[in-house]
Amino acid sequence: MTLQIHAVSEIDSSDLRSLVVDNLGALLGTGARLVENMPQMNGCCLATSDTHDGPVLLSFDAVDPQRALITGLTWMDQLSGEMVPLFLQEFHPPTGLVVLAPAAPPGLTLFSGSCPVNWQRIQVLSVNGEFGMLIERAVEETTSVEPTPQESHPTIIESVLSTEEKQHFSQL
């Protein structure tokens, strides 16, 4: 039997959501699960618990990394309000956001300086007419927007390091 495999650029949000739910273990580790009784969220956002019951928000988009990031940040904001736990029994605000997209969202490095957000690469495929998801461990890749320096301390380094130390730490 010949496998017909090709990348998919258009997929319904409900189909993508199903793919993500089916692959929660592969994405977040064994034992990851959906959080029950959540309010209706955007179709491309899921409240989940990781292996250790840590609340993690998943935001995903098969094509647009930026949309996935913004959607995720919006829901992180809405689910982190102080009043939310009062209206949702046994609810804990998400402590992390994982963005699933085919490329790193622009500005992720900047956002991650103030919000616990990570990115994981996904690629939706069609295999003999059935949808499948390729989950890749992201390799070193910078965002398309030049990242803003976060915690660089050039002045401190200049004043703290001696000439020998600077030379030692000039290359790997």
Partner: protein, 205 residues
């Protein structure tokens, strides 16, 4: 006129609003369990380079995940300790003089190594401190090895300090839970070994 069907929900909302001050925690990182406990603060020096990859583990994520993991792994111990991780700005290093073990989280590139060393040099002005170094953002094991070697050799040569290697932690993925649990176990062990046990701890009542 309001729809009478909404009245029960409105009453419920008003009731919740009136008693909310009993439930809202002003310090959400540390939840009050109602039982006396001790807060363990693990200081972290963030050596995050400008080119920290978006695909790498991010500092805030590490802080949340590792604190949660430490709390989980020590939850059986009585009295129940509460762990929190605290980022150390270099400018405030003098206020951390009582901490025996410090976690250093660094980008796996030359700038990350340099920032890590700078922090270690500055913080090591207090004797008896120990440092555990965790990297993230390497594309392969060889890069991790070179970063570890460069930092360790520099610390040994210039400061006379031997660092504890905590390895490399990638962004959340299939192996993240196992790697995080292993890291928490090692950090806990080092903290126990090197903490200054008479340090002033915060009693949580």
């Amino acid at each position: 006129m309001h729809n009478p069907a909404w009245r029960p929900a409105q009453l419920h909302t008003e009731r919740l609003a009136s008693i909310q001050h009993h439930f809202i925690d002003n310090h959400p990182v540390v939840r009050n369990t109602g039982k006396p406990g001790v807060i363990h603060t693990l200081p972290v020096h963030m050596a995050i380079a400008a080119g920290h990859p978006a695909s790498a583990l991010q500092p805030h994520y590490l802080v949340s995940a590792l604190a949660r993991q430490l709390n989980l792994q020590t939850s059986a111990v009585a009295p129940h300790p509460i762990w929190q991780l605290e980022d150390i700005p270099l400018e405030r290093r003098a206020t951390y003089t009582n901490q025996g073990f410090i976690l250093v989280f660094a980008t796996a590139n030359i700038e990350g190594v340099r920032l890590a060393y700078t922090g270690i040099k500055t913080l090591s002005a207090t004797p008896s401190r120990r440092f555990g170094v965790l990297f993230s953002g390497a594309r392969d094991a060889e890069l991790v090895r070179r970063c570890q070697e460069r930092l360790a050799s520099g610390a040994r040569q210039f400061l006379g300090i031997r660092l504890h290697e905590l390895g490399h932690l990638s962004a959340p993925g299939p192996d993240f839970s196992v790697d995080l649990a292993r890291l928490a176990e090692e950090v806990h062990r080092l903290w126990e070994t090197h903490s200054i046990h008479n340090q002033p701890e915060v009693v949580h009542t």
